[in-house]
């Protein structure tokens, strides 16, 4: 589904603080598979995840999504692909303070111009699915860590993406909530979604939800798992 070919990503190129985050990465991610990107802090997991999720462009190399070369696409098309294909769950949840859980969930769909009533219904359905219906009208800063996490998951799912990307999703959760998160991922995988999680938490990469572990160190893949 996603294919990375000889990817290199350099930050601050040509400057004294130039930093090579990703070097010579070749990777194929198959559909309906749950993949974990494993590695220590600073190994390049987040950078690789943002490249896979069309949030950044590689300095060199090619990325294809469903046989379509996307590296050279203009920003506008990349945004559309990001919105339609990927659902993002961030390490810090990145919910917008001052808005309700419901409004946060609806946000990614705003640029699509869907009817407000229909969009609200879908958002409520997702919150119900994640046992958050009672918190729909609560401002996100009043939610517990687990509730904020589930709100972020609902937001990632609002545009019904084929691929769900999560960056260190359990970093701020206790063991129970981390296991709960993996159960939700199991359900999503069962629903046919492709799951991509960057984590160095054993609860994630040792979970039976994960089909494949890709190990990264110093910006390169040291263990590609199955399907490289």
């Amino acid at each position: 589904m996603i294919h990375l070919q000889d990817i290199r990503k350099v930050f601050n190129a040509g400057q004294p603080n130039e930093f090579v985050a990703i070097e010579g990465v070749n990777l194929t991610i198959d559909s309906h598979v749950a993949t974990a990107l494993k590695g220590p802090s600073g190994s390049g997991k987040t950078t690789l995840l943002s490249l896979l999720g069309c949030m950044a462009r590689p300095t060199s190399g090619r990325i294809t999504l469903k046989e379509r070369e996307i590296t050279s696409l203009p920003e506008r098309f990349l945004t559309e692909i990001r919105r339609e294909t990927f659902g993002m769950i961030f390490q810090q949840f990145n919910l917008i303070k001052g808005l309700t859980a419901l409004e946060n969930v609806m946000l990614p769909a705003y640029p699509k111009g869907e009817k407000h009533a229909a969009l609200k219904r879908r958002a409520m359905d997702l919150l119900e699915l994640l046992n958050l219906a009672g918190k729909a009208l609560a401002q996100v800063e009043w939610l517990s860590g687990g509730e904020a996490q589930r709100t972020a998951i609902a937001r990632a799912l609002i545009n019904n993406p084929a691929i769900v990307i999560a960056d260190e999703p359990t970093a701020h959760l206790d063991t129970t909530l981390s296991r709960e998160f993996m159960e939700i991922m199991r359900q999503l995988k069962k629903d046919g979604k492709t799951i991509l999680i960057a984590s160095h938490d054993p609860i994630v990469y040792e979970s039976d939800v994960i089909d494949r572990i890709v190990e990264i160190r110093d910006g390169s893949i040291v263990l590609p798992g199955d399907g490289a």
Partner: protein, 384 residues
């Protein structure tokens, strides 16, 4: 349909964004509205006063002829009228008698003017509303009424008592506040003006296009005279009110610059929270144009609210509250202060200029920094 829904969603989000930063935005609207209020008040007031002056001068004589002695206005011999009448194009010539009288009791200067209707009623006067309100030091304010007597001191030192026969309508108060209409014999007695002298001459012409020519001929026949055209008077009023308006605007320019600094500060620096939000919105699929649209709505909402609030308050201030703040500067200086309401008169042109000088630049400067933030890679949100 989708495009309208999209606009609605983004506008909804913008309004809730503004609501989340209530304190900051209310402060901004207050400062912004205050600036608009002050500037619009000056513009409205100067324009309404000029308009009043134009209305009043519409009935003014086309040419006024004064006599100058050593560069000062002096009494004009009435026989000048004979020679002026002979100038081609002059329809009528009349003499006027008017002057100022200092009333030591109230400390006010009155304008005294001869009214031909009173010539058959010597000893009678008609007074303006300001005169009727005169207060005497140490005495409670007692408005003058019909049949009250007012003592005047003639230039010879004698006392001349005149009786109030009527009051001038309050509607004309801007020009009649300090006015007293008297009969010709009383006026001449009061100021010792010889019978063959008048204060000035007024004349009407058959064709207004010939006014300048007539004025030149008068100046040729009587080199000691100064003909003044109605247009010259209008220009003087315009210049006086523009100058006064300018004085206030100069003072207000400080306020205006303070506002520019505030707007610039807001424009050049987005808060970390705002940058974070833009990053998140990009990461979850908002396009750069969606973010700019949101910021445009945000700037426009603040700007338009403040603009209309400022204009509305300025309207109330000028036309209902008699311009409490600027009264002393714009209306002039007098003891008998006119109480009046200006006729609401607003130039759409002025509103448009104010709009283009405030709302448009503000909206633009709020978009610029957002544009800078909105064009960053969305993966920055991954590292927030």
């Amino acid at each position: 349909m989708g495009a309208i829904e999209k606009q609605r969603h983004i506008l909804d989000f913008t309004l809730s964004s503004l609501g989340r930063r209530t304190g900051k935005n209310i402060a901004l609207v207050i400062v912004y509205a205050l600036v608009i209020f002050l500037i619009a008040s000056v513009l409205f007031l100067a324009d309404a006063l000029k308009n009043e002056a134009v209305q009043i001068l519409q009935d003014a004589p086309e040419i006024v002829v004064q006599r100058l002695v050593a560069g000062r206005h002096d009494l004009i011999p009435t026989h000048y009228m004979e020679s002026i009448k002979t100038i081609r194009g002059v329809q009528s010539v009349e003499s006027r008698l008017w002057g100022y009288y200092y009333d030591p009791f109230s400390g006010a200067n009155y304008t005294l003017m001869v009214n031909a209707d009173l010539n058959d009623h010597p000893g009678a006067i008609i007074i303006g509303a300001g005169v009727s309100r005169r207060s005497e030091p140490g005495k409670p304010l007692q408005p003058l009424r019909k049949n009250d007597l007012i003592p005047f001191k003639t230039s010879g030192g004698e006392v001349l008592t005149l009786q109030v026969k009527g009051l001038l309508p309050a509607a004309s108060e801007l020009v009649t506040a300090d006015l007293i209409l008297v009969s010709e014999p009383d006026f001449r007695k009061l100021f010792s003006v010889p019978n063959d002298r008048a204060t000035d001459l007024v004349l009407q012409a058959r064709n207004t296009k010939e006014l300048a020519t007539i004025a030149t001929k008068i100046a040729q026949i009587h080199p000691d005279s100064r003909p003044i055209l109605r247009d010259d008077m209008l220009r003087t009023y315009d210049a006086v009110f523009d100058w006064r308006g300018g004085v206030i605007l100069m003072v207000l320019s400080g306020v205006f610059f303070a506002f520019i600094i505030l707007a610039w500060d807001k424009a050049t620096g987005l808060s970390a929270e705002e940058k974070r939000e833009i990053g998140i919105l990009k990461a979850i699929g908002w396009e750069t144009s969606d973010i700019l649209l949101m910021k445009f709505w945000e700037g426009a909402a603040v700007s338009l609210t403040a603009f209309f609030l400022g204009i509305f308050l300025a309207y109330l201030h000028v036309f209902l509250a008699s311009s409490l703040l600027f009264e002393p500067v714009l209306k002039g200086w007098a003891v008998l202060y006119p109480h009046f309401r200006l006729t609401p008169h607003i130039h759409i042109y002025q509103i448009a200029v104010l709009f283009f000088l405030t709302v448009i630049p503000y909206t633009v400067v709020t978009i610029v920094p957002s544009w800078r933030s909105a064009t960053i890679d969305p993966d920055a949100a991954m590292r927030l």
